[in-house]
């Protein structure tokens, strides 16, 4: 089926003389039509982009082009629970899949090298601005 539909125009081209004769006759017919009916071009619909199209949604880190680094503990601790020190999931942080993965990797690196707590969040970061609300996740909690 696939081959047949795509081969058809090629087969037509093989009989080239016939094809050319046909196309020239069509062109003549169309040119004669356009001269007969004069169209006011200002009345024609204008081709334009959809003005109501919404902007592409981006996650916080992608939007500001921030790449998480294990030395930047202040940034990473924003994705940590103040109660348990655990990393918030993607349904809470609202990051894209790749960025969430990167953040988790960097947090684990920071915890390995004793820059960041595993079960605690540093008290000096408690009053940092909140990037998201854990009480209102994007998708419902598993629990």
């Amino acid at each position: 089926m696939f081959l047949r539909t795509f081969l058809r125009p090629i087969i037509m081209h093989q009989n080239r003389r016939e094809f050319l004769r046909f196309s020239s006759s069509v062109a003549e017919a169309s040119s004669s039509e356009s001269t007969e009916s004069s169209i006011d071009e200002s009345d024609l619909p204008v081709r334009m982009e959809n003005p109501f199209r919404k902007e592409r949604v981006q996650c916080v880190l992608c939007k500001h082009q921030i790449s998480p680094d294990y030395k930047n503990v202040k940034l990473l601790s924003q994705f940590q629970s103040p109660f348990t020190g655990r990393i918030y999931g993607r349904h809470i942080t609202g990051l894209c899949k790749k960025m969430q993965r990167k953040v988790e990797q960097e947090i684990v690196k920071a915890q390995k090298s004793v820059l960041m707590g595993t079960v605690t969040k540093d008290v000096q970061f408690f009053k940092d601005p909140k990037l998201f609300d854990p009480e209102k996740p994007i998708r419902p909690h598993k629990y």
Binding site: C62, K63, C96, M99, S113, V114, L115, G117
Partner: protein
């Protein structure tokens, strides 16, 4: 591009001893055929949890970040040497990474399940496992033979 980053945490000690320890850690890299590109002091800090190392419990330490180039087989030796050093509380050698350039896919992830790429792929795999059903062509709406 620098190949490795060593994050070393030294134990709490006088300034002069910190300098000698830092020299020792740096010379370990030089002696094994590497060279240092950058050395950052990340400051004296209270550790987020107590670290039991070389028979002492450490609660404070000074963090240093050493960016260096070296052959890859040196990393194992360096880890071993830093592990033996009494003045080093914790040392980790990571690959130095450039800032990531990720193309955000949040737009696609927020679509309803039927439009998500992963779900479509899962459905295709599930369909593959099912047996193909052939029409009987008997004109009857039931199977006429014994099963």
């Amino acid at each position: 591009m620098p190949s490795y980053e060593a994050l070393v945490i030294l134990r709490q000690m006088p300034r002069q001893e910190v300098i000698t320890t830092l020299k020792r850690t740096a010379e370990a890299i030089f002696s094994k055929g590497g060279f240092i590109r950058k050395l950052d002091n990340l400051g004296h800090r209270t550790l987020p949890f107590r670290v039991f190392e070389h028979g002492i419990i450490h609660k404070t330490g000074t963090a240093f970040n050493i960016t260096f180039d070296s052959p890859s087989k040196v990393v194992f030796d360096l880890n071993e040497e830093y592990g033996r050093d009494v003045d080093i509380v914790r040392s980790n050698i990571f690959k130095a990474e450039e800032p990531v350039k990720i193309k955000c896919t949040l737009q696609e992830e927020l679509q309803p399940p039927a439009y998500r790429k992963g779900v479509i792929r899962m459905l295709r795999i599930a369909r593959k496992g099912q047996k193909e059903k052939y029409p009987l062509n008997t004109g009857l709406n039931y199977y006429p033979f014994q099963k």
